[in-house]
């Protein structure tokens, strides 16, 4: 009886089976993470992914209803193109559908996984565009369509956003402008550290410190909300 996981290609399964010993778990390049118990929202998301792994398309529809707004809005912010944002959002949900059986909530929440998939795909597209734009020497970076200098959400926006979105936006608004700009370029701009530093015209070390402090303060603010 083979000890290799069934999803591995045959050649890999043979190579792995050549070694003795038990199979305690599937080792991934992503580090195994341990942390606090996920909240109720994360538990619901995890249950939906488990139902998807069993082939339940209604669970996919429910997950779409929970995740689609922030994911699509993030894709639009990163790509500044509705058609591309739809394609990326589509691909992310199909990836979640196909890979749902691999989800382990001990490694992070389903939402974090979905955002990671989305950003990876959006960054691929941004860098593909950048290669073409290099032909146009001196071309200005694309306007991300977002003003990082803006403060918290407008009243009418807040009314239509979920409680979660409102809390995050309020937390972001409490950050100093320099930290907010660095975080937004890093998250929505799909840039490298060096590109963020160049865009802000700041030394790399300064930008790294701003990103660290901004993320830390954001975590503390979100952790203290009721």
């Amino acid at each position: 009886m083979s000890i290799a996981p069934s999803y591995l290609p045959d050649a890999w399964a043979a190579a792995v089976s050549a070694g003795p010993g038990p199979l305690p778990r599937i080792a991934l390049m992503t580090p195994e993470l341990h942390g606090d118990q996920p909240d109720e929202r994360a538990l619901t998301d995890a249950r939906l992914l488990r139902r998807m792994a069993a082939g339940d398309r209604e669970a996919l529809a429910e997950l779409y209803d929970r995740f689609s707004r922030p994911l699509y809005a993030t894709a639009v912010s990163m790509l500044n193109d509705a058609a591309e944002a739809q394609d990326v959002t589509h691909d992310v949900f199909i990836s979640l559908w196909e890979k749902s059986s691999r989800f382990e909530d001990s490694r992070g929440s389903a939402f974090t996984w979905a955002v990671t998939l989305l950003r990876n795909r959006a960054i691929d597209r941004i860098r593909g565009r950048t290669r073409r734009m290099r032909l146009l020497e001196g071309a200005a970076p694309a306007d991300l369509g977002y003003d990082p200098d803006a403060g918290g959400p407008a009243a009418d926006e807040a009314a239509v956003r979920s409680e979660e979105a409102g809390a995050v936006r309020a937390a972001v608004a409490t950050l100093p402008a320099d930290q907010r700009k660095a975080l937004h370029l890093a998250f929505f701009g799909g840039m490298t550290q060096e590109e963020v530093a160049a865009a802000l015209n700041q030394p790399l070390g300064t930008v790294k410190a701003r990103i660290r402090r901004g993320l830390q303060k954001l975590r503390e603010t979100l952790a203290t909300r009721p």
Binding site: I3, L8, P9, A11, W12, A15, A18, G19, P20, G21, P22, L23, R25, A27, L28, M29, T30, L33, H34, G35, G55, R57, L60, Y64, R69, P70, L71, Y72, A73, T74, V76, S77, Q86, T89, H90, I94, E98, G108, F111, T112, I123, R131, R132, Y146, R161, S162, V168, R169, A186, F187, T192, K208, A209, I211, R212, L215, Q216, L218, R219, L222
Partner: protein, 301 residues
């Protein structure tokens, strides 16, 4: 205890800002440090929450239908209890399709051939425009790729010189700290091509269990297809899947590379080394074909 440098790396990692080499080294540290792993998880969750801060944009209603339809059509997707497989359920759709085709045909006859020439002319003009656009795009890609190739060659030579320098420094440092390292501390393995038709490929992996680090040297590896990289794997029987040693590229003209590598998880014993062809940036678990495979590592001669 997480120091400032590790905390900064955790924040950059959470936002996918670390370069591939930094990322692999950091993941190795995370795998060995539960406190750092917990910190990474906190920051990743926080970074993901930024998605809620995007300016509001509602997806169009058709996107939901498109996704659910794609999921239903996915070949090899999980089997759904709602999948429509009955032939009887297809009959109304078939009738509707026939009616639609008949209606279209009748309408086409009615319109006659008067507008046909105009439509064909327009289609020809559109096709010509598309052809021009595609040709321009291909030219652009070619120029960009040439520049990137030049840049990559220069980067590779700088990186190779730096790796050699760092290897010397590590050896000197190790010698000062521990005395001269005995070759008995190392394990060596020859990697051979899995294709009998490519015997010219030469690859050797040197692994130091106490340092949890190694060096891989290859030559005559085939040039990489676009969007692909080679990925090194360490097969440790304690794990159910090969453990990544990182991705690498080779000199396109010589097929040579020399990389210093670590692993994502601590290694106790090595059954084999392997190299596979994977998509650019690497994969968590092997997906592509094995290119090189070793026997069990041995003590150096």
């Amino acid at each position: 205890m997480i120091d400032d440098l590790q905390d900064e790396s955790a924040a950059l990692y959470a936002l996918d800002l670390l370069a591939p080499a930094e990322c692999a080294a950091f993941e190795a540290r995370v795998a060995a440090d539960p406190a750092l792993a917990a910190r990474v998880r906190e920051l990743r969750e926080t970074a993901a929450a930024l998605a809620h801060a995007a300016p509001p944009a509602a997806p169009p209603a058709v996107l939901r239908d498109r996704i659910l339809r794609s999921a239903a059509d996915q070949a090899g997707a999980p089997r759904s209890p709602f999948r429509v497989t009955s032939f009887a359920t297809l009959i109304p759709w078939a009738i509707a399709a026939c009616v639609a085709v008949a209606a279209a045909w009748t309408a086409r006859l009615y319109e006659g051939s008067r507008s046909e020439n105009a439509i064909l002319r327009d289609q020809g003009a559109i096709a010509a425009l598309e052809m021009h656009s595609l040709r321009d795009q291909l030219d652009a890609e070619r120029i960009v790729n040439q520049r990137e190739l030049t840049d990559t060659r220069r980067d590779l030579s700088v990186a190779a010189a730096r790796i050699a320098g760092l290897s010397r420094e590590i050896a000197e440092y190790s010698g000062r700290q521990k005395g001269a390292a005995s070759m008995a501390d190392y394990r060596i393995a020859d990697l051979a091509s899995t294709e009998a038709a490519k015997p010219r490929i030469v690859a050797v992996a040197l692994w130091c269990p106490s340092m949890q680090a190694g060096i891989l040297a290859v030559s005559n590896l085939p040039r990489l297809p676009e969007g692909k990289q080679y990925q090194l794997w360490v097969i440790d029987p304690q794990y159910g899947s090969p453990v990544s040693g990182g991705v690498f590229t080779v000199n396109p003209s010589t097929g040579q590379a020399r990389i210093a590598f670590g692993t994502v998880h601590p290694i106790k014993s090595i059954a084999k080394f392997a190299v596979s062809l994977e998509r650019e940036g690497g994969v968590p678990s092997p997906e592509g074909p094995i290119v090189l495979l070793s026997d069990s590592p041995r003590l150096p001669d």
